[in-house]
Symmetry: D2
Subunit: 283 residues, 4 copies
């Protein structure tokens, strides 16, 4: 059953929940899910409400207009989605293919709501996986000299395909500010450490060096400050002195797979709200 | 800030969320928390809604009456709580004191909302802990011959103290149907296994014998069918061939402590709803 | 560096460790790893010792003969492996391909020590994955009438390929005693529950019905008693009332992937010792 | 059964395991446990070997002398312990008593091998717990002006009691270099974050600010560089946007309890070896 999903954030005050549920109900919407949260520290109210498209009396193209007065009354920031309009996704990858393989398998199994339109890589290793999955593959080699040109080609392709979300599934190039601004809060990365520990390159080697007893993986939105964007999901696993760096890498890849998958799924199901440099995830 | 908490379950249909939030809002209630869930398999709707007592226009003793028409319209089962009226609790224990020690420490630290009025035991081991905590201790030795008499004394004491919740913090006597019916869905037990595996006595020995690689603990409401009541919380921990039964016991006790604590806390915060033989926990 | 691996179990007594390490050392072996365990309940001693093949003075075909007197002195059961002689593996699967896809990806990435020679299925769904991986695919449809015939074909193919280990990567046919005896302790299964809870079919539906707060997966050697063989590895994940049966299935599949992979890897690295109906895993 | 425990580290080379087990065996020792590890990166060999005191032919006061030639041959660093000589421990604490309460309960239940001789605090909050446990309490208030004097009093008391291990069970004073050098690698701290993330003060507030989805606790040996000493144990727990800083504190305290307990237990059972700034834990 297709749904309308409304994401809201605004200064907290009396009556928001009642006003929003009332709005939906009066227009014939059957509420399927309603989740809310108040950050008492910053006095911000967050809400995710979903109702059935069927039986709702307002045509989708007029819904925004209809909601505007209420939104203005409460000074809301809001986003509106329809589950029959799926997000168009591009997957970026370099040479480590475990996340890509995992995401493509889940995608084909129907466990991801988006539409994967493009796989982009600075290497050729991922091409066979792209071909098997029947997804277009764009090869954009990157050298210091060609980085700007490569990004330009990528951005053109993303635009041509109408891509709305970029997933860095172990893509080992740092995106420029130009790229990040073009996809503000719409680039999801997987970092192979428990952030904020071990920012930057070779986090498993850093973890080995430090002698930690737990390793982690972190999926976050990309901002211009490297590995500092809002965290969507993290997970950890125990290690011990017997694990070599290579063992950490393999064990960590199992974390990376599920952490990136969960973050991506929640984003595609419109369950993630950013505020400041944090996220609310209505999972 | 004191709150009113309303727990609802009813057949799912259009408009429940809107009707309830509207009811609260019109009477001046500032909604602090609203959580809902629909079991699509059984078509049952669940809701927990909390609003501030201050500013609410209906006196607490009239609130039930005021809500009744709405409840009847939707065929709701419902419970109403006020956070300034705390639940009166009795802790039952035998010879293993780790859960009791843990709960008392948290209680004194203000991490449990109830009021512990009584500690009951069929042994004397817990008496010093009770004394240190300044809580009345009732010693009811149990033999096959005196079991009925012991339970009668316990029930009298519970009644005299106005106890609303009994916590079996490793109490190793099986309660009779008479007792359980008197405290229907108001007796919480901690079982030292991952139920439904290893029902009954000596679950760690059973786990050792079976060679499992994970052990667990389960907190559940007590029903007449042994270890079969609605599960509130569970947790697990890894073990391996090096662990003796005694090691499993010690490792398991760490699980028991936190699992029972969480279940108890959620119950006291009115976050648990039973239906059929399952629970909805709005944590 | 290739290694010799010796697995030992015997009644515990003084001097075993010293005798075995001494044996290896005198013959020029550089011990790389030595792990031991004593089950004090049953008084059984277990050991896994690995040394470098290079520099060892006894040719591999004479090593067993050379070790026999020591083994007899301590009444040892023992197994001898050389890491340059990899185990020949067949993967069995039905219609759920997540484990197969995962194992094949890890296999191609060099994370599994065996040699996958054959993929067997009672359905055709896995054929494309087999083809992409360049592994022979054997289709043996099974109906009640053809079950015996299908198993006979399977056993012939396993024999022809010299298969030493069968992995049931979500193969939904119960093997007959004849098959299991032919591959005694050499069939590894993944069961989609935390055994011994939820034996048999539809464990996720059973888990949903029971209202557990944790689900699990178990990898074990197959014996004639269904889902009762020695457990090699287990893992668990939290769930709650919001999860539908389908959600449990998806969340559980993430467990199944890693649990089966770990069990298989440890078996292929000769780190698993069976005794009674339990395992010692020298991970 | 009392045991001799020998901890060894040395440059890796052929024959160490055989030489050590042979040494024990020839002198009549029944090896109960032998664990080894080779750090291939740094080419260092580590071993923990335990044998029964009964039946061993060398008196304990002569054992070191007897072992010396072998130790010198392999350039070993080594430590020798007898399980009937328990470590004398002092517990330091400030105002958060959850770790202290937990350790004392386990201590009285026989789950910790050492002998707790002294509880030291810069506040008076812990005094009742010390009294109930029958352990001497030393109150050393600390102000910037009296810090040196307080430490001097502490060191005198530690010396007078023959303390061998100091446990900082949430002691909120930074020890001076003088103190740390006097108890080199013999001060264990619990830090309430997943190090190396959130060094220093208020780690839960830092974690809240950062919006992490997992919190942690770390137990480590104290070195002069704040929160940078060798990590003994860590653990983590999931959190989400609903958790206030206070919730993180409470949830984290559950981690702190078990993490500090495990680190302390392993140290007291002589299972921890330091090298560089890391640990090998033969658990």
């Amino acid at each position: 059953m297709d749904q309308v999903i409304l994401l809201i954030s605004c200064p907290d005050q009396k009556g928001i929940t009642a006003a929003v549920t009332d709005f939906v109900f009066r227009l014939g919407g059957n509420i399927v899910d309603a989740d809310q949260h108040t950050d008492k520290q910053d006095n911000v109210f967050f809400m995710r409400i979903a109702w059935e498209l069927e039986g709702f009396s307002v045509p989708r193209e007029q819904l925004g207009e209809k909601f505007r007065p209420l939104a203005e009354k409460f000074s809301m920031a809001w986003e509106l989605y329809f589950t029959d309009e799926v997000t168009r996704v591009a997957l970026f990858v370099s040479k480590h293919l475990h996340c890509l393989n995992d995401l493509l398998f889940r995608y084909k199994a129907g466990q991801l709501k988006g539409k994967v339109e493009l796989i982009v890589s600075n290497h050729l290793d991922a091409e066979p996986l792209a071909r098997q999955a029947g997804i277009e593959f764009l090869h954009t080699p990157v050298t210091p000299a060609t980085k700007h040109e490569a990004e330009t080609r990528q951005l053109q392709a993303l635009k041509a395909k109408g891509i709305e979300l970029v997933v860095l599934a172990r893509y080992h190039q740092i995106l420029t500010g130009q790229f990040i601004r073009a996809f503000n809060k719409r680039v999801i990365n997987i970092h192979h450490s428990f952030l904020p520990a071990f920012v930057g390159g070779s986090p498993y080697a850093q973890a080995f060096q430090k002698g930690v007893k737990i390793i982690g993986a972190t999926s976050h939105y990309v901002i211009e400050d490297l590995d500092q964007g809002p965290i969507i999901e993290q997970d950890t696993a125990r290690v011990n002195h017997k694990h070599s760096i290579e063992d950490l890498v393999h064990k960590g890849q199992d974390l990376e797979r599920v952490v990136l998958y969960r973050a991506l799924r929640w984003h595609l199901e419109h369950k993630v709200l950013c505020y400041g440099n944090k996220t609310v995830v209505f999972e």
